[in-house]
Symmetry: D2
Subunit: 169 residues, 4 copies
Amino acid sequence: MAKTIIGIMGPGESATPEDNEIAFDLGKAVAQEGWVVLTGGRSFGVMDAAMRGAHDAKGLTIGVLPNDNSVNSSDHADIKIMTGMGSARNIINILSSNIIVVIGMAAGTASEVSLALKSNKKVILLNQDEITIRFFKNIGTYKVQVASSVAETMEMIKSYVKVNKVPVK
Amino acid sequence: MAKTIIGIMGPGESATPEDNEIAFDLGKAVAQEGWVVLTGGRSFGVMDAAMRGAHDAKGLTIGVLPNDNSVNSSDHADIKIMTGMGSARNIINILSSNIIVVIGMAAGTASEVSLALKSNKKVILLNQDEITIRFFKNIGTYKVQVASSVAETMEMIKSYVKVNKVPVK
Amino acid sequence: MAKTIIGIMGPGESATPEDNEIAFDLGKAVAQEGWVVLTGGRSFGVMDAAMRGAHDAKGLTIGVLPNDNSVNSSDHADIKIMTGMGSARNIINILSSNIIVVIGMAAGTASEVSLALKSNKKVILLNQDEITIRFFKNIGTYKVQVASSVAETMEMIKSYVKVNKVPVK
Amino acid sequence: MAKTIIGIMGPGESATPEDNEIAFDLGKAVAQEGWVVLTGGRSFGVMDAAMRGAHDAKGLTIGVLPNDNSVNSSDHADIKIMTGMGSARNIINILSSNIIVVIGMAAGTASEVSLALKSNKKVILLNQDEITIRFFKNIGTYKVQVASSVAETMEMIKSYVKVNKVPVK
């Protein structure tokens, strides 16, 4: 049966230590529910930290990589989807996730939030500044939720999964 | 010899009348310089208006389409690049343009600005609100320029083309 | 740690009953080794049969889908990678697999064999006619191997995995 | 109005001198009809030769490139569509062409023929060996035509364009 996949998106090299810590905690909490963590798969920042957290709880992880090989991919990606498509892979991250949580912000991450809203996906913003929140609320309205902690994020995901009977086919 | 390609990006169905008028004027001004106008190719909003403007000055236009056929493509796209890739085509719009001008805002458009900044492309924001400008300045710094008119936009493009000897190979 | 992923490719609607039976048996044999089965993910033909076989041995399966949602996806795909890219997803199937086995032939399948050879991947042809074998040997030389049974295919995969220390990073 | 686009596909570095000569002649003949030549855009083999031929007749050329920049792109590509998607760009070559002519054979080229047949496009095979012809006839039936000269190819294209009122919208 199709697994429930939670996308955790955020900056790579430019992630802050706080972004990484939150990503680790969220990846761990998601794995504890038995859900799969999906990220951009690289060995840096939020991607790596979220999958490391999932592994801390013995969860399964997927990394959807920009390259056509595993160079610079995270050791914590169990399943490496190699696209060879650069940033075009961002839409795959979004479409393959039942719901998306975004921690920290950078250009690639902003494209993922935008593509999620374009694709009518629910996005939870975590550890974001006021400008970011207002910008994405303006273009995404009700599809954008703002969480102030990992615990609150998990409540939002559980509610979404329950209401939407995820995964649906 | 490779032609100079100016990307004009903006909302489709949700474009405002003002977005469309500015897009038409900019498409026309770009074509008058002998440059090619590239858009997302659909028959709506900024895409359609910019190519209509280019045609008003007998310019050449390219539409990079999300579909695998020409349904809902603009009559003003001379060259229809059919990708069949949905929003994954947004990165192609960006990479194929020497410089990008963004008129109006929506989720797809925001993904294009973000992908442009991720790809180290220069982006000129036109007819944008304060939140949008601040958000993209935060993540794109010097790669983001803000113009207040078509005339000012054209000056920025000319300066960029001159300094960077576009098209470069 | 990265899992070993075996790609099993073949026709959807046009698969023969024999193609499906071989795919089921191979999927099962691959899963019994503890390897992951990756397919094009649709609910037809070789894709569906290979993943059904893997599930018969309690294996893990990945379906890389052409659509942006799970319509027409196989119930036997545990992880659904939704690309929204149509046939452009074929290269992802190839790049994400450590080695590729091809059962039966159709246009989409032929594109996957061709892309595998282009990407310097090893391809094992199973249940193929003489023309198909000669064609792909001509363009792929040593990268193409021909197996006459599931057992022989498994030996070839084991040898490849051993020699190449798959998964390598 | 949408231009008529003829895709000319074939090997890059591994093209034979004869492939290149035929590609040059065909590119020139296509341009003389006022049609646009579309290729994979690289500075080698059939791609480069076809666009050089088109330029010899002052035609317009499009190169759909695998890279995210113009390195190794042909000087004879007027419009460079930069995809950054590697071989995933092959489907764009096919979908964007009204009809496809294939000169010579290699793995990438075989993927293009296969994707064309998958996408229900008409393909004309030129300068192909018997095995190649039989293989693609087997999987593509009536969608595959075989030409023995540039002149015959041009007749086939003209007939197709006339019957199908290309470009259609």
